[in-house]
């Protein structure tokens, strides 16, 4: 009889446990690599998502922006993916985790940039689903590299 009394409670708990065991969704990240140059003029028409930001005063020093690459990286939960930058350095993205805060899907991503001799940058950030974060400053071919990184979970 006692067992039957506990049945509704068990029925409630089982889905919760199953939900807790659900693996985090995998993610797709885009790394857009833009070459900023002081010479020349204009923004490559292929640059769409990053364009409004490249028009901000912070980038006024550069007058020409060319899209060098648009890399798509598929990342399983806790997975990493490497990419090579045009200046020969190695970049790595790690999909640390995914969570929901204030009803917003958020992704925690780690980015590392390595020179052949040492790790240059190691940063972890949290951003909204499909949010964009920029990393810039590395020198390349008379200009600077600006990376636009956006990630979203795969439905």
């Amino acid at each position: 009889m006692r067992l039957f009394g506990a049945a509704p409670l068990i029925a409630l708990l089982v889905p919760l446990v199953a939900w807790a065991d659900d693996p985090a969704p995998s993610a797709v990240c885009h790394v857009r690599i833009v070459h900023a140059l002081k010479d020349g003029n204009g923004i490559d028409p292929r640059i769409t998502r990053m364009r409004p930001y490249l028009e901000r005063p912070q980038f006024a020093e550069w007058h020409q922006f060319k899209l060098l690459e648009d890399k798509e990286l598929k990342l399983p939960a806790n997975g990493t993916a490497d990419f090579t930058l045009p200046n020969g350095r190695k970049g790595t993205l790690t999909y640390v985790d995914h969570f929901i805060a204030d009803k917003e899907h958020r992704l925690r991503i780690k980015l590392t940039l390595d020179r052949p001799d040492k790790r240059m940058l190691d940063t972890t950030f949290v951003l909204d689903e499909d949010g964009l974060v920029l990393q810039g400053g590395q020198k390349h071919d008379n200009g600077r590299l600006i990376l636009g990184i956006s990630c979203k979970t795969e439905k």
């Binding site: 028409p45 409004p52 790790r119 940058l121 950030f125 951003l127 499909d130 964009l132 810039g136 400053g137």
Partner: protein, 148 residues
């Protein structure tokens, strides 16, 4: 049916198709992309400027009233329906601006930053002049001996 240039412009192509389109892009396509971009900036600028102090609905309803006065009762009912539809469409376009895809704000929190170089800085970039793009975060790094 939407064409490739428009889909590319709206960032709707899958990565592979996007890359293929970029490789095969003609001068004509580039010109169209530039024109689309220009048009979007123009429309956004105009609407942003107007949205603050122009009451579109009163203008539309005034126009509708004029139309009603000029046409027969039966006809005006038909055009009045179309006018209301147009006004609703204009309001929808003003509010939703489907030609300007909304981007999620990144709401980025940099939790950890280790850098081995000259200096690093985290800068918040706001979304103006294109409202709706959301703020974003820039992590700027400067290697030793790399300053211009």
């Amino acid at each position: 049916m939407r064409d490739k240039v428009q889909e590319y412009f709206d960032n709707e192509l899958p990565a592979e198709e996007r890359a293929r389109f970029e490789a095969e892009m003609t001068a004509d396509d580039r010109e169209r992309l530039a024109a689309l971009e220009e048009m979007r900036a123009l429309i956004n600028g105009t609407l942003d400027a107007q949205a603050g102090d122009v009451d579109i609905w009163s203008g539309v309803s005034r126009q509708l009233a004029k139309e009603t006065a000029h046409r027969g009762r039966r006809r005006s009912r038909y055009f009045g329906g179309a006018g209301v539809f147009l006004a609703a469409a204009a309001t929808f376009l003003l509010l939703v601006r489907p030609w300007h895809p909304r981007h999620a704000s990144d709401n980025c929190d940099v939790e950890n930053l280790e850098f081995h170089g000259a200096w690093a800085s985290v800068i918040q970039l706001d979304d103006s002049p294109h409202r709706g793009d959301g703020n974003t975060t820039l992590i700027w790094t400067e290697d030793e001996g790399e300053e211009d």
